[in-house]
Amino acid sequence: MSEDLPLLRVFSLSKSYGSRIGCADVTFDLWPGEVLAVVGESGSGKTTLLNCLSTRLMPTSGAASYRMRDGAFRELYRMSEAERRFLMRTDWGFVHQNPADGLRMAVSAGANVGERLMAIGDRHYGRIRATAIDWLGRVEIGEDRIDDEPRAFSGGMRQRLQIARNLVTGPRLVFMDEPTGGLDVSVQARLLDLLRGLVADLGLAAIVVTHDLAVARLLSQRMMVMKDGRVIETGLTDRVLDDPREPYTQLLVSSILQV
C-alpha cells in the first residue's frame, strides 16, 4: 500500500522528570519494515523514549503520530485510553527486558500466547490452541511445553515465549527494550537470530533499545545514539558503527571488542 509514508512520525518529543531530563527534542520517522536501534549507555534516556513512544508514559511536550491500518495518521497523545489500549493489544507489541514483565507467570505458555488472540476477539478454542502451538514452534519451544507455566522455563525460553505472545496478533510495530539483556551470550545469539528472521519474514517495523552495539548491528538498519536524553548521532547502522563522528559515539564503538 502506501509504503512511501512513514508508519510513525515523531516530532520534538521531550520528557522531563521534574528538573531532570528523561529525553529531549527527539525527532524521527520510522517506515514500515524498518528496524531502528536506539543505543547509549544506561541513563541516556533510551527507555524513557521507548515508553513515551509506546504511550506507556506521557511526554512533557512534542508530538507523535501513527499511521493506522486504514491509512490515516492519528496523534498518539490525543487518543483516548481505550484506543491506545486497543493499539497495544493488536497493532503493537512490547518486548520487555525482563520476561516476567511481559508474561503472566502463573498461566500456561499456551495461555500466554492465546490470551493476546482472545483479546482481539478470537473465541474458538481449537483454533487458538493451534495458533499457539504454531507460534511456540516458531520461537523454538516444543509443543510438549504448551501446558507448562513460564516459571518452569529458562531465561531464554521465557524471552522467546514473550516474543511469541507479542507477535501472534500480527503487529506492525514492535517496541523492544534490551530484548537480549540478562541472557547468556550463546542464548543471546540464538534469540537474536530468531528475532532477525521473524522481523524480516513478517516485515515488522521495530524500535529496539539496546546498549549492545552487536545487537544493533545484527537487527537494525538505522541507529540513533543517545546521550543525556538527546539524540547526538543518527544514520545507517553500519555507517554509525564503522565511521562514528561524535566523540561519544567513538567512545562507545571503541569500548567494544568487535562488532
Partner: protein, 235 residues
C-alpha cells in the same frame, strides 16, 4: 556507454576524538566516473584511501565534501547526501559490494547468506537458493559446507561465500575490495571469469586488487588514488 556513477571532488577525513581530536585527512578532490561494461581499478599503496573510497560509494563511510551521483533506476541520486533509506534502496537495487571480509551472522547457512540479496529483491526463496548453490559450486566451495554458517570457515572459504553473495544479483554497479586476496590460483581464475561476464553484461565494476596478475586480467584502466592525496600530506 552509459555512465552510472560520477564522483566529483569528494573528500574524506577522520577526526579521532579519543586521540585529542587529531584529524586524519585521507583523500581530497576525488573525481572520476565509471562506465557500464568496464572494470576500473583503484591503484595506490596501502593506506592511500582505496577502501575508504569504496566505502563512501557504498554509503558505509560518510563523505565530507563533494558529490557521488548514481543512476538509481533512471533517477540521479547524490549518495553523499542521501538519506539512510535512499542508501538502502541503492544497495538493494543499484550498487553491489564485495567487502574484503565477510561479516558473518550467527546460525545462517552459507547458501542463505548468498541467496539473501536476491530474496531481498523479491526473488522466491527456493529459486534464490538454487542460484546460490550454482555460484558456490562454481567457486568450488565443498557442498558439505553449504548448509553451515560461515563463521567457522577458512578465510578463503568465507571470501568465496562473500563473492557469491556479491555476484548473485544483477546490480548495475559492483564494488570489489580485494575479492581475490585469500584465494588460490584456481579460484582466482573463476573470479576473473566472473568479472569478465559481468563486464559483458554491462555492469560497471570498480575494484581493488593487490594481486598484479588479477589486476592485469580484469582492469580496463587504473584510477590512481595517490592523485587524491590531501595537499597537506602530499607536500
Amino acid at each position: 556507454m552509459p555512465t552510472p556513477l560520477v564522483v566529483s571532488e569528494v573528500a574524506k577525513s577522520f577526526t579521532m576524538h579519543l586521540r585529542d581530536g587529531v584529524r586524519l585527512a585521507v583523500v581530497e578532490d576525488v573525481s572520476f566516473a565509471l562506465k557500464s561494461g568496464e572494470c576500473a581499478v583503484l591503484g595506490g599503496p596501502s593506506g592511500a584511501g582505496k577502501s575508504s573510497i569504496l566505502k563512501m560509494l557504498y554509503g558505509n563511510y560518510a563523505t565530507d565534501a563533494g558529490q557521488i551521483i548514481v543512476d538509481h533506476g533512471g533517477r540521479l541520486l547524490d549518495l553523499a547526501t542521501a538519506s539512510p533509506r535512499e542508501v538502502l534502496a541503492v544497495r538493494r537495487d543499484t550498487i553491489g559490494y564485495v567487502s574484503q571480509f565477510l561479516r558473518t551472522v550467527p546460525r545462517v547457512a552459507a547458501v542463505d547468506v548468498v541467496a539473501e540479496p536476491l530474496v531481498a529483491r523479491g526473488a522466491e526463496k527456493a529459486a534464490a537458493r538454487e542460484r546460490a548453490a550454482a555460484l558456490l559450486s562454481r567457486l568450488n566451495l565443498p557442498e558439505r559446507l553449504w548448509g553451515l554458517p560461515p563463521a567457522t570457515f577458512s578465510g578463503g572459504e568465507q571470501q568465496r561465500v562473500n563473492i557469491a553473495r556479491g555476484f548473485i544479483t544483477a546490480h548495475p554497479i559492483l564494488l570489489l575490495d580485494e575479492p581475490t586476496a585469500s584465494l588460490d590460483a584456481r579460484n582466482r581464475e573463476v573470479v576473473i571469469a566472473m568479472i569478465a561476464e559481468k563486464k559483458a553484461q554491462g555492469v560497471a565494476l570498480l575494484g581493488i586488487f593487490h594481486d598484479a596478475d588479477v589486476r592485469e586480467a580484469v582492469a580496463d584502466r587504473i584510477v590512481d588514488v595517490t592523485a587524491f592525496a590531501p595537499r597537506a600530506r602530499a607536500a
